[in-house]
């Protein structure tokens, strides 16, 4: 991009309205041009004022709770001291090519602290064993999920209600993923309570067919989280959430949420 072309593009860049390839070309020019950098800073001022002029909306309390939980989790995210583990039989079973963790909570600091305390206690007592293995495994999964959620490269796709699905007015979900990273997070929000014996099950559409990712278990607010480890999401074409009464190997119950829509 020439200097003249860059000058023409600065205002559009200040509005975040350049096409991605042009924005990249302009950024390369800006790295070497202090004149354009200064002009961009000046053009950002009116854009900043447009940003600050958005109609006032008070954020819900649950958003602050999420940020507080994330802050606490990240603050305490230092890995615990290594624990001498007893030999643990590896868990195997049909369809367990994925390692699954159904989670009914957001990133609760209490869960992190509890896991860390458990590890330290087990380490001190020399107990080791399966509980320590699971606690360490859970910490590793939490760390992988947090790394995914805090990456600027993570893609967030919305799970929309399936046509005709009996869901609430605000029921939706999200699928967090990033190509090349074998961690995915599937989230359900405002999920309605299900009758006894039924559960929400998430599925990944892989080239070889639908694969069960695990159960989404709503908490009292209808929020549910599922961390899926073990597969690069680049091969996953979509996500489906169904209502199931048993443990099928392919979706059988009614579709509730899905991506793409």
């Amino acid at each position: 991009m020439t200097h003249i072309e860059a000058r023409e593009a600065l205002a559009i860049h200040a509005l975040d309205a350049l096409d991605p390839d042009e924005a990249a070309a302009l950024e390369a020019h800006l790295a070497a041009c202090s004149t354009c950098t200064a002009e961009l800073a000046s053009l950002r001022r009116p854009a900043d004022e447009m940003a600050a002029a958005a109609p006032l909306c008070v954020p819900p309390a649950r958003l602050r709770a999420r940020v507080v939980a994330t802050a606490a989790a990240l603050e305490g995210a230092a890995p615990p001291q290594p624990v001498a583990l007893a030999r643990v039989p590896e868990r195997r079973g049909a369809r367990h090519w994925l390692r699954l963790r159904p989670s009914v909570q957001r990133w609760q600091p209490a869960a992190w602290l509890a896991a860390a305390v458990l590890l330290l206690a087990l380490s001190g007592a020399g107990a080791g064993g399966y509980a320590a293995y699971r606690a360490q495994q859970q910490l590793a999964m939490d760390e992988a999920a947090l790394a995914l959620l805090t990456s600027t490269e993570t893609v967030l796709d919305r799970l929309a209600p399936a046509p005709g699905a009996a869901v609430g007015p605000t029921t939706h979900g999200h699928w967090y993923h990033r190509a090349g990273v074998p961690t995915q997070v599937i989230v359900g929000e405002a999920l309605l309570p299900l009758p006894a014996g039924e559960r929400y099950v998430a599925w990944l559409q892989r080239p070889e067919g639908w694969q069960q990712a695990g159960a989404l278990v709503p908490d009292a607010h209808g929020s549910a989280r599922l961390v899926v480890l073990g597969h690069d999401p680049a091969g996953t074409a979509g996500v489906l959430v169904t209502r199931e009464t048993d443990d099928p190997i392919a979706p059988r119950g009614p579709a509730m949420l899905r991506f793409p829509g």
């Binding site: 975040d16 602050r64 606490a72």
Partner: protein, 181 residues
């Protein structure tokens, strides 16, 4: 040292309390902008992810380049624009259940704005310039999307955006200096 610079230094030390402090000071502005662009349902995720990213990438914000809030709102805007572009690239079917902010009439968007100076000065711009600015900034359209939507040559849209932002900058500067409009 400014409060923003102090908070950034706390973040560098891994102080989650500083993140919450920054959230308490700036969340309403960030959330308001996100709601305007992507709607309430996705605004929560955008704002949460922006603050989480801040704690995980302490050097993203450099106080030497200006105040924290305008920088934060730029990050929020950029995230929202990416959400909108992904929605649009998913096609008409995926958009059917979400209101596209670029479908809001520009004058209605301007009338809804909180800050009177911005609202007044946008209203005084020539119609074609304020339409282009509002569709690009509050509608999250790229200049080429804008050209298709308005059925105008790309060069015309670029010129409208550029002239519109330059005029807005001049008018807002005059307003701050008390120059009669």
């Amino acid at each position: 040292m400014s409060e923003d610079a102090r908070a950034r230094d706390q973040l560098r030390r891994g102080d989650g309390g500083a993140l919450v402090e920054l959230y308490d000071r700036h969340a309403t502005a960030a959330y308001s902008l996100a709601v305007r662009l992507v709607g309430a349902a996705e605004a929560e995720d955008v704002v949460h992810d922006v603050f989480a990213t801040l704690l995980g990438n302490h050097d993203l914000y450099d106080p030497a380049r200006g105040a924290f809030r305008p920088w934060l709102l730029r990050v929020v805007h950029n995230r929202c624009v990416n959400v909108l572009r992904r929605r649009r690239s998913a096609g008409e079917e995926a958009l059917a259940w979400i209101e596209d902010p670029a479908d809001s009439p520009p004058d209605a968007v301007i009338a809804s704005l909180e800050a009177s100076a911005v609202r007044d000065q946008l209203q005084r711009l020539p119609t074609e310039q304020r339409e282009a600015l509002v569709l690009a900034y509050y509608g999250g359209l790229t200049h080429s999307q804008l050209a298709r939507r308005l059925a105008l040559p790309l060069g015309t849209v670029k010129a409208r955006l550029r002239r519109g932002l330059l005029a807005l900058r001049a008018r807002l500067t005059d307003t701050r200096l008390g120059v009669p409009g």
